[in-house]
């Protein structure tokens, strides 16, 4: 692995002799732009990471337990073992993401030191700070954060997040919360686009988000960073649904490796994510996949077991 040198011998006085800049907003947000239209898969071993890569995943999320097992096992869920993360980095050539607890600066620093390509400051792990999220500008590694609504998304972007995923309810295999959060975010973006400048100040106050970001969303009609969906996607049709609702790609957690035939299901979800607007292809992708993960009815989840309410 080579890093760009700070001085090019051949370039002489040319502009190319300028010092390269790492960790810029364009490089961090641009990385997420490259993932669009793709599927990011939770994996817990190098073998699973290879299956994900061979199935067409654009990236993998390295973690110790998938959310369904975190739910089952209980206890405090933390950053994964560095050996496990490094094993996964070694096993695949696609980007590797990993999760830190909300507000756990040191877990994030460790993940950056390990060379992961994206850090997910995630509500799926047990929060380390119930007031503050990490200052994501302090890192070279870009961050993705979850959000249930536009205000939450913009607060994370204001802290330096370079990518947003709607939270959904991880580890349930139930897409209902993912739909709720994506609809909420898109609906609130749509409302901003028809407000004039006078109204945008009040909107920013209500959203509890910086005015500049609110204004930017109002003009662009979209978030300034890539928006994916997460939390409950279990089938090709779920993935295609989230894309039709406005997700630029999907995270699939427990849905793949808690199913009967992970390789086949993973490839099927990839196909349905690319051709989300072609029901014939989604139908073909949905055939003969074996057992989906069992799933949990979100109505029966006690408030304390709802991960989406973590983060503020």
């Amino acid at each position: 692995m080579s890093t760009p040198s700070t001085a090019t011998e051949s370039a002489g006085a040319s502009a190319a002799a300028q010092r390269p800049e790492t960790g810029t907003a364009r490089v961090k947000r641009g990385m997420a732009e490259q993932l669009k239209g793709g599927v990011i898969m939770d994996v817990v071993t190098p073998e699973q990471a290879k299956i994900a890569e061979d199935s067409g995943a654009v990236a993998v999320m390295a973690l110790e337990r998938v959310p369904a097992d975190i739910r089952k096992d209980g206890g405090v869920a933390r950053m994964s073992d560095p050996d496990m993360i490094e094993g996964i980095i070694e096993a695949v050539s696609i980007p590797v993401m990993a999760k830190s607890r909300i507000g756990h600066l040191v877990e994030a620093q460790v993940l950056q030191a390990l060379g992961v390509d994206y850090i997910d400051e995630s509500e799926v792990l047990t929060p380390a700070d119930e007031v503050n999220h990490s200052d994501k500008f302090a890192f070279t590694t870009p961050f993705v954060c979850g959000a249930t609504n536009l205000g939450e998304a913009l607060r994370r972007i204001a802290e330096g997040a370079a990518m947003i995923r709607s939270k959904g309810e991880a580890g349930t295999g139930n897409v209902v919360e993912a739909v709720r959060h994506m609809r909420q975010i898109k609906n609130e973006i749509g409302k901003l686009t028809v407000l004039d400048d006078n109204e945008l100040y009040a909107a920013a106050k209500e959203l509890r988000a910086p005015f500049e970001l609110v204004k930017e969303v109002s003009v662009a009609g979209k978030l300034p960073v890539v928006l994916f969906s997460a939390g409950g996607v279990a089938t090709p049709a779920d993935a295609a649904l989230m894309r039709q609702l406005g997700a630029e790609g999907v995270f699939v957690g427990s849905g793949i490796f808690k199913s009967g035939d992970p390789a086949k299901r993973a490839a099927a979800i990839v196909k349905a994510t690319t051709f989300y607007d072609d029901p014939k292809i989604v139908a073909d992708a949905s055939r003969g996949l074996g057992e989906a993960m069992v799933g949990i009815n979100c109505d029966t989840l006690p408030e304390t077991e709802r991960y989406a309410s973590r983060g503020w």
């Binding site: 692995m1 080579s2 890093t3 760009p4 040198s5 090019t8 011998e9 051949s10 370039a11 040319s14 502009a15 190319a16 300028q18 010092r19 390269p20 800049e21 790492t22 960790g23 810029t24 364009r26 490089v27 641009g30 990385m31 732009e33 490259q34 993932l35 669009k36 239209g37 793709g38 890569e53 067409g56 995943a57 654009v58 990236a59 050539s93 696609i94 980007p95 950056q112 060379g115 992961v116 390509d117 994206y118 070279t140 590694t141 870009p142 990839v270 196909k271 690319t274 051709f275």
Partner: protein, 198 residues
Amino acid sequence: MTVTAPTIGVLALQGDVREHLAALRASGADPVQVRRPEELAAVDGLVIPGGESTTISKLAVTFGLMEPLRERVSRGMPAYGSCAGMIMLADKILDPRSGQETVGGIDMIVRRNAFGRQNESFEAAVDMPAVPGGPVEGVFIRAPWVESTGAAAETLASYDGHPVAVRQRHLLATAFHPELTGDQRVHALFTEMVRSAH
């Protein structure tokens, strides 16, 4: 220069498709998404976007696009690839994943993720005399570089001693992402290549 806008496709299997569509539109082309063989047949030129080269390659094979892509490129359809797209247009990958295929067309060997992982991703000014108006803003994200080129491939720009922009007749490739910068000069160069190929 003709007044009609050439129809330029963007391979839309995965990646930063929207940014390429916008840059092409600003360059005077009529951009369309391409995901199916019949859509490919209708374009005058094609952009292969940035994204994950393993994913794009796999989906191109799965959905029957790889052979039509090779055929059109070999018959002279202009094509431009950025980052993953550069890998797709290379005749050879130094370090391919097992089974990773390319469209090929440019006589060069590329090294994937040659500049490093995301923490090493960077931006820097790149001298590219083929586009007028001074250096271009090079945004390099887990970028490849060109390890070596054959006689037919012309290096248009290098960074840190490695070719990062290459042209071979109707084919153009950059290791960096002009589509992320708002500077449309590279897309204008490609749009002109498509126009003159007509």
